[in-house]
């Protein structure tokens, strides 16, 4: 869907290129997270996709279209764009803000109004309550919901998101990440997502591209990055607790065992992750948990040895 080849960007006066011969392919419907320390070129790379920054060399194609040879204005109207500071227009209502791109595209009013309500619903904001409010009346989390709705307005196949949740408090951030995942799964957008937060990358990314000094160090699924960091830099970047982070990516369901004669006293939901399960075992001082389904029904048990065996099996599989 997005193909980046040999991309180079050198800012005037800088000692090193911000992006140095970067090659990266993002398949359709995939969330690709660009991550790395500040100055690694992740934001510059993203901004070259919609040509807010012009590359010095290389090529970018989006949906088979050569980005560098189309009109940048119409290109941008076909790509969703979300930034950390949201950038809602203070003099426009929430409805007008969401309608920005449809208005630029010349949709008729009825179609725009219907689309605005649909999107506000989608991001969990009651249209009747929020439609005619102004940005300054919203909390940070609400603003970014509107920011996401605005980027989705013309139903672009591709979205660029530059640290959209970084300015939020941890609780709103977690909630927005969860809702964002839910929305993504229903819409199947191709997304380039920039962050400096490895936990956010592991949580949201289908694939993670780790950048350093403008070059790609590793590009793989979260599992693979945690299991096989490409080098010492990636290893230190993902942190010493990567075993725990890996557990965080696996659902309890995957390590489910048949119930023994006596059901454990503590329980955990099947869709929770193994990291939370481990925490609950340590907290309760137990070696096994009852696993419950959506309706509270007992599905089986999770044991400490099962959890351990499970992760070890995965290591063995990874090493092949």
């Amino acid at each position: 869907m997005i193909e980046i080849r040999g991309l180079v960007k050198q800012y005037p006066g800088a000692a090193h290129p911000a992006v140095d011969h970067l090659t990266l392919a993002v398949p359709e419907g995939c969330v690709c997270v660009l991550i790395g320390p500040s100055g690694c070129g992740k934001t510059t790379t993203m901004r070259m996709i919609n040509r807010l920054v012009e590359p010095d060399a290389g090529s970018i194609s989006v949906g088979g279209r050569d980005v560098l040879h189309v009109d940048p204005v119409s290109l941008r109207r076909s790509i969703g764009y979300v930034i950390q500071q949201v950038g809602l227009f203070p003099h426009w209502t929430i409805a007008d803000n969401v309608a920005t791109v449809p208005k630029l595209l010349g949709w008729d009013e009825g179609r725009i109004a219907a689309r605005v309500d649909e999107l506000l619903e989608l991001v969990g904001m009651e249209p009747a309550t929020f439609r005619s409010r102004f940005p300054r009346e919203l909390s940070g989390g609400q603003k970014q919901r509107v920011g996401v709705a605005r980027a989705l307005a013309a139903d672009p196949p591709v979205m660029l998101m530059d640290e959209p949740f970084a300015a939020l408090d941890p609780i709103s951030r977690g909630r927005l990440q969860d809702e964002f995942l839910r929305i993504l799964r229903s819409l199947r957008k191709t997304i380039v997502f920039v962050t400096h937060d490895i936990d956010e990358a592991l949580k949201l990314g289908d694939r993670i591209a780790i950048l350093r000094d403008g070059a790609l160090v590793q590009y793989a699924a979260p599992e693979a990055i945690l299991a096989r960091p490409a080098d010492a830099f990636v290893e230190s970047f993902v942190g010493t607790d990567r075993a725990l982070k890996r557990l965080g990516l696996i659902q309890v369901e995957a390590a489910l065992e048949a119930t023994g004669p006596v059901a454990p006293s503590l329980s955990i939901a099947a869709h929770a992750n193994l990291r939370d399960a481990l925490a609950r075992m340590l907290e309760g001082g137990v070696d096994s948990l009852a696993v419950t389904g959506a309706n509270g029904a007992l599905l089986g048990v999770l044991t400490m040895s099962g959890l351990r065996r499970h992760t070890r099996t995965r290591d063995a599989a990874d090493d092949q």
Partner: protein
């Protein structure tokens, strides 16, 4: 009583008073209009050039320090006397505050708004028209308000170069030591200046986008 004598003067010379008042208002309004028509577009055109914007602000600040009378005096040898030179001088007087505020207001527009607007596919002109100008409007209007007061009070001095207006009564009053006649010029001129300030203050409020008004 001075005020009664001043009133009697107006009643005795209704034509002269009406002419002076009309000239004063026309001179001020024309100068302000010309200054707006020049300073705002220049500010907009310079918006993308940081260095040129700073240069314009600096030049305007120098212009601002020139006393109104000095501007009128400088114009006279070049353009002679009458309505047109007075208009020219008053326009020069009104330019700096409007130019300074337009440049500053556009510079202060949040860079994230411009980034979001560009990123969503607004053309440069659309970003200016839809986002930057509306957001900068209250500050631009504050500059116009300042200029309006300066022009209305500066227009009193137009009498010195034969521009007419309420200043005629003041200069004549001073020359003949006729205080009532001086007040016939001074009081309406003061009221006009206060009125202009109020009018543009109100306009500034009305033109501030609803979402940006102070609660």
């Amino acid at each position: 009583m001075l005020f009664i004598e001043a009133w009697q003067f107006i009643v005795a010379h209704p034509g002269r008073f009406a002419d002076a008042l009309t000239t004063h208002v026309a001179l001020s309004a024309a100068a302000l209009g010309l200054a707006i028509a020049m300073a705002v577009p220049v500010g907009v055109l310079l918006a993308d050039n940081r260095r040129a914007t700073l240069l314009a602000i600096t030049a305007a600040n120098v212009g601002r320090t020139l006393p109104s009378l000095a501007v009128l005096a400088l114009v006279m040898p070049l353009l002679g006397t009458g309505f047109a030179p007075a208009l020219f001088a008053l326009t020069l007087l009104a330019l700096p505050p409007i130019l300074i505020n337009t440049c500053t207001a556009l510079r202060q527009v949040d860079a994230d708004l411009v980034d979001a607007a560009r990123g969503m596919g607004m053309t440069r002109a659309q970003v200016m028209r839809e986002v930057e100008l509306p957001v900068a409007m209250p500050v631009i209007f504050a500059g116009i308000r300042t200029a309006s007061v300066q022009v209305v009070s500066g227009a009193v001095l137009a009498a010195y170069i034969g521009g007419g207006g309420l200043g005629d009564f003041i200069t004549a009053g001073i020359a003949m030591m006729a205080l009532p006649q001086l007040l016939v010029g001074a009081i309406p001129a003061t009221l006009l200046a206060i009125g202009a300030d109020r009018l543009f203050g109100l306009l500034q409020k009305v033109l501030t986008p609803v979402g940006m008004r102070a609660t």
